[in-house]
């Protein structure tokens, strides 16, 4: 039997004279159409039956199709409604159901098959077109029911699923279209659960769909899962295969489908569809899986995205997962002068990443300046962001500046930038906070206090670091009891597990007010909290990284407290505890093989150094100067930038007479280079100058020390940025 008409014919035939053809005969439809236009379905049917020797159903189906193609969907529907399609399906089934058991000859089976397929496609096409007509009339849920009956019938007729060789092209085409149309109809009708079932039926049964159709269905389903707002639940147990991945929820299922679509594209099985990547980007970034997204991006072959776009997207992915080093490397490439040096978002991101590391800050200053210059026209609104990142980079750069002059220059430039950003970024609370910290570092405590208060007001006290900053500023102003009030208020606003840093602050505040017993009490409470936390969340992981207090710090804090009370025994016990923990944690850390290994080893050394340092304090307190000296030395070896240690060694050295004075002096200068506002360093440097007979220098140092005395916070300001 002939399939579709010759399509080249269609193109060339400008008059668009429709023809119908069957049983080797073909006729023009002008006459039939005229009858239809008069509403004479029966007469139209009769002339078709006559002209083409068709039976009733065939003639009706053909008429319906004719009406449908003429765009008269209402007419088509009337014609289709005149056929009892369900009865026709009923008639199809038994004859085919017998087929597998028949032992007739091969030739005969095939011919029966062919005839039945013809009958089947006739009926199925009629139902399908009925569904399409209903859809076009806006009767979507009725359409869905009709469309569903096409698939139900196919499943009954071909109960083993459709295999490649089993069906002819026409039947396959109808089946494919119905499979694709059904979920869409349910979706349009708002029946999302039925749509989900239809999508799964389409994807999990054998329909012999072509790649493009399957890809469209998979994408449509992923979109429904992602945005439909209806939870699909896991697929039924029947389709689950042992050892295979079964998605449990919408996000998993959608991401799986989108990944499969990406894979198909990469293998060249389907056309590239950028929206697949956009959906995947949304899904993965919303669940913070940007490294997985990065992997997907990396797998796309070159040429699909411009390389700079790809680098920039990758940089966002890595930076979104905190892998800033990788992100910065990509941004350096994309911002190279031969690539796209004027991408303002890339510049800002690069500047922001650099602002978090004092050794990159200078590089960041360059990016920020470029961004500010580019913030014109539609990007003008980003000028404030540029100034803000510039201020942050400059502020960070001061940490590594080699001279006092450079430092103060950078500091005031940082302040100018941040202040300049304020009017451009109204109501940006983060900016107010950063400006406050910059003021504080600059020891402009009044301005810092104003910022801290404003930050707490405008965030409604919702950000923990705001409270800590306010308490630190107050402590720098030596307003310890007020700082304690703030800390207590903050504790009230904080859930138990987040209270660590506040309790540590409180203990130090008590200590500063010489309320030693209270301080010990607070440390005890903190210790209990941290230990409880460790028990409920497993062994300590990299705690220093995420704003949590670690147990060593507490023991060291207690050791410091006891040594200041000259309770050497207790201080030693605390140090011992810290050392025990060290053992434990080193083991714990070594089992954790991951990218943070370097962080661990740094932490190791710091903690060791701190232990030696406190040990030294105890030795010194007991008058064992030689041992103290050795302990301090060890501490410095492990942690070359330990400022308090440098100061105490110098103090010890300066007591040893004139010969040791130059060493003491250089150690103190070193300490001041690291921490220029350390008043103890200034004080001892003054002493060294005095002992060496340089009265004027000594006086300057003492003056610096006395000025600074009033402005030391109990924890350094940059600990909270």
């Amino acid at each position: 039997m002939e399939l579709w008409g010759d399509h080249s014919d269609v193109e060339s035939d400008s008059e668009w004279v429709r023809k119908v053809s069957a049983n080797g005969v073909s006729m023009k439809t002008t006459e039939v159409e005229a009858k239809l236009d008069q509403g004479n379905i029966q007469e139209a049917e009769a002339s078709l039956r006559e002209g083409l020797s068709l039976n009733f159903e065939e003639a009706r189906s053909l008429l319906g199709k004719l009406e449908y193609q003429r765009g008269n969907v209402e007419g088509a529907l009337r014609v289709f409604e005149g056929i009892d399609l369900q009865a026709a399906i009923q008639r199809l089934q038994p004859s085919l159901a017998e087929k597998p058991s028949s032992r007739r000859g091969r030739f005969r089976t095939e011919s029966v098959h062919a005839v039945s397929q013809h009958a089947a496609s006739l009926v199925l096409e009629a139902i399908y077109l009925k569904a399409k007509s209903l859809q076009k009339l806006g009767r979507v849920s009725e359409a869905a029911h009709e469309c569903k009956s096409v698939l139900d019938a196919v499943e009954k007729i071909f109960y083993q699923g459709i295999l490649d060789v089993q069906v002819d092209n026409k039947l396959q085409e109808i089946v494919t279209q119905a499979v694709e149309l059904l979920p869409d109809l349910w979706k349009q009708a708002g029946f999302y659960h039925e749509a989900i079932a239809a999508y799964r039926r389409a994807l999990l049964s054998q329909w012999n769909l072509d790649n493009d159709c399957c890809a469209r269905i998979q994408k449509g389903y992923a979109v429904l899962l992602l945005y439909g707002g209806v939870e699909a639940g896991p697929p039924s147990l029947a389709v689950q295969i042992d050892g295979s991945y079964v998605p449990k929820n919408n996000l998993e299922e959608a991401i799986l489908l989108l990944m499969i679509l990406m894979r198909k594209f990469i293998l060249g099985k389907t056309q590239w569809d950028p929206s697949v990547m956009d959906h995947l980007t949304f899904a993965l970034s919303v669940c913070s899986q940007t490294p997985v997204l990065a992997k997907q991006l990396e797998e796309i072959m070159p040429g699909v995205y411009h390389r700079v776009d790809r680098w920039n997207s990758l940089a966002l992915c890595y930076s979104g997962a905190g892998q800033n080093k990788a992100a910065l490397n990509l941004l350096r490439k994309s911002l190279h002068k031969h690539e796209r040096p004027d991408d303002i978002i890339a510049l800002l991101l690069a500047a922001k990443i650099c602002s978090e590391d004092s050794h990159l800050a200078a590089e960041g200053v360059g990016y920020a300046r470029r961004a500010i210059n580019l913030a014109q026209g539609i990007d003008e609104h980003l000028k404030g962001v540029g100034l803000r990142t510039l201020g942050l980079c400059l502020g960070k750069q001061t940490k590594v500046s080699s001279s006092d002059f450079e430092r103060s220059h950078l500091q005031s430039e940082a302040l100018t930038s941040l202040e300049g950003a304020i009017p451009l970024e109204p109501n940006n609370t983060d900016l107010i906070f950063e400006l406050g910290v910059q003021y504080a570092e600059h020891r402009n405590l009044t301005a810092a206090l104003r910022c801290a208060k404003q930050f707490i007001d405008e965030t409604g006290g919702s950000i923990l670091k705001g409270w800590r900053f306010l308490a630190l500023v107050l402590s720098a102003q030596q307003r310890f009891s007020e700082a304690e009030v703030v800390t207590d208020a903050a504790l009230d606003e904080t859930a138990k597990w987040d209270q660590g840093p506040l309790l540590r602050l409180k203990a130090k505040l008590k200590f500063s007010q010489s309320l030693h017993m209270d301080a010990i009490e607070t440390y005890r409470y903190l210790l209990a909290l941290v230990q409880a936390q460790r028990k409920s969340f497993g062994p300590p992981r990299i705690q220093a990284v995420d704003d949590k207090v670690n147990e060593f710090e507490i023991w060291h804090g207690l050791a410091k407290l006891y040594s200041s009370l000259s309770h050497w025994k207790d201080a030693e016990i605390c140090l011992g505890k810290a050392r025990e923990l060290k053992q434990y944690s080193v083991e714990a850390l070594h089992t954790e093989v991951d990218k943070n290994a370097s962080v661990h080893s740094v932490m190791d050394r710091q903690l060791d150094g701190e232990g030696f340092f406190h040990g030294g304090v105890i030795f010194e307190g007991r008058g064992q100067f030689q041992e103290a000296f050795a302990a301090y030395n060890n501490a410095l070896l492990l942690e070359p930038c330990h400022v308090p240690c440098k100061i105490l060694i110098s103090a010890l050295l300066s007591k040893r007479g004139l010969k040791a004075l130059p060493v003491a002096r250089s150690l103190l200068s070193d300490a001041l280079r690291i921490d220029p506002t350390n008043r103890m360093a200034w004080y001892y440097l003054g002493m060294v100058h005095k002992d060496d007979g340089r009265k004027a220098d000594a006086a300057d140092c003492f003056q610096a020390a006395s000025m600074l005395e009033e402005s030391d916070p109990i924890e350094s300001f940059d600990s909270i940025l």
Binding site: G5, K132, Y245, F282, S288, Q289, V292, L382, P426, E458
Partner: protein, 343 residues
């Protein structure tokens, strides 16, 4: 095409058994009746058809309440009054009581107003206004979610194509190193009796997670409210013309509404927004509101230099833009046009 200006009938919802009217229990009916009665005493004019409907053949009165435009507009304007969030506010009490009634259909009515409650609440926190009424409602939602999740985190296994799945085949993994990557979508929940300010974003975020899980039932108006507040929260006008206007209003006082958007708040916001923008692009009004919200949040992400938010909002913008373009694709479900019809 079928236009969803109003949501579909309850027969299409997830739990047909509980939604299908005949199975609504007497208990639920009486709860709804008393909720409607007490609401009618709060609102100035209560739609007569609603109070009537309780006794009449209306089979799901809570559903009518959820979708009644008059009730929605009156409740919304009451919620926007200056002191609406106070502890002694009648409406807040009604919303709280109605949610605590435990009737799922009535809870949907409360959730319908969540965007306005959250929107007004978060924007007012900095203004030191009484908010105990709003907080009681939010805590009730938080507690509900905590109980139904038993405090557990919501996690997912990030798919890995090297393992076969129901939708694709793969060679058996060479070794066991192809473990699934576990992602926490929403961390575990601890009970909260009060809104501690540092937990505020989380409590609101969890309430929004609850809203998102029921968003299919929400009327379009509620979603539009949500999108409008996103623009306020972002506090970002990407438009140059607007900027000049802002400068004027800034001189009178700071522009209200911009809030901190930590991830615990932003994540559920983005998921809801995804639904509003892409869930049904046929609804023009909702699509436009969501489009504006996406633009604002994208601008905000640029100002915060927030990579994850840039990726999420940026991809939504691309998808939204594509949805606005007239589709040139041929409809693959259309039969081929031919002038020779064959059977």
């Amino acid at each position: 095409m079928f236009d969803h200006s109003e949501p579909t009938t309850p027969s299409s919802t997830s739990t047909p058994t509980s939604e299908h009217a005949p199975s609504i229990s007497l208990d639920s009916l009486s709860k709804t009746k008393s909720a409607v009665e007490s609401l009618s005493s709060i609102l100035s004019s209560f739609p007569s058809n609603l109070s009537f409907s309780i006794s009449s053949s209306n089979l799901n009165p809570a559903f009518s309440l959820l979708h009644d435009p008059q009730v929605a507009s009156q409740v919304s304007s009451l919620l926007r009054e200056p002191n609406s969030g106070a502890g002694d506010n009648n409406l807040c009490r009604w919303l709280y009581d109605t949610f605590q009634s435990g009737d799922p259909n009535l809870q949907l009515v409360v959730l319908r107003f969540l965007p306005i409650i959250v929107g007004i609440y978060l924007s007012r926190v900095a203004l030191r206004k009484p908010l105990a009424g709003f907080e009681a409602i939010l805590l009730a939602l938080y507690a509900h979610e905590t109980t139904s999740r038993a405090g557990q985190p919501i996690t997912m296994n990030v798919p890995n194509l090297s393992l076969p799945s129901v939708y694709h085949e793969a060679k058996a993994p060479i070794n066991n190193s192809t473990e699934l990557n576990l992602a926490v979508i929403s961390p575990s929940l601890e009970p909260h009796g009060t809104v501690r300010s540092t937990r505020r974003a989380r409590i609101v975020g969890v309430a929004l997670e609850l809203y998102h899980s029921k968003i299919y039932h929400m009327p379009v108006g509620s979603k539009i409210d949500f999108c409008d507040f996103c623009v306020v929260w972002a506090g970002q006008d990407n438009n140059d013309d607007d900027r000049d206007l802002n400068k004027e209003s800034e001189s009178n006082g700071r522009k209200e509404g911009r809030i901190q958007l930590p991830w615990e708040l932003l994540q559920p916001v983005l998921r809801i927004l995804g639904h509003c923008l892409m869930g049904n692009t046929k609804n023009k009004e909702l699509f436009d509101a969501a489009w504006a919200a996406c633009n604002s949040l994208y601008a905000r992400s640029m100002h915060d230099i927030n990579p994850k938010a840039l990726l999420a909002t940026g991809s939504l913008l691309k998808l939204g833009k594509k949805a606005m373009e007239p589709s040139e694709d041929l409809d693959p479900t259309e039969i081929r046009k031919s002038n020779v019809l064959v059977i």
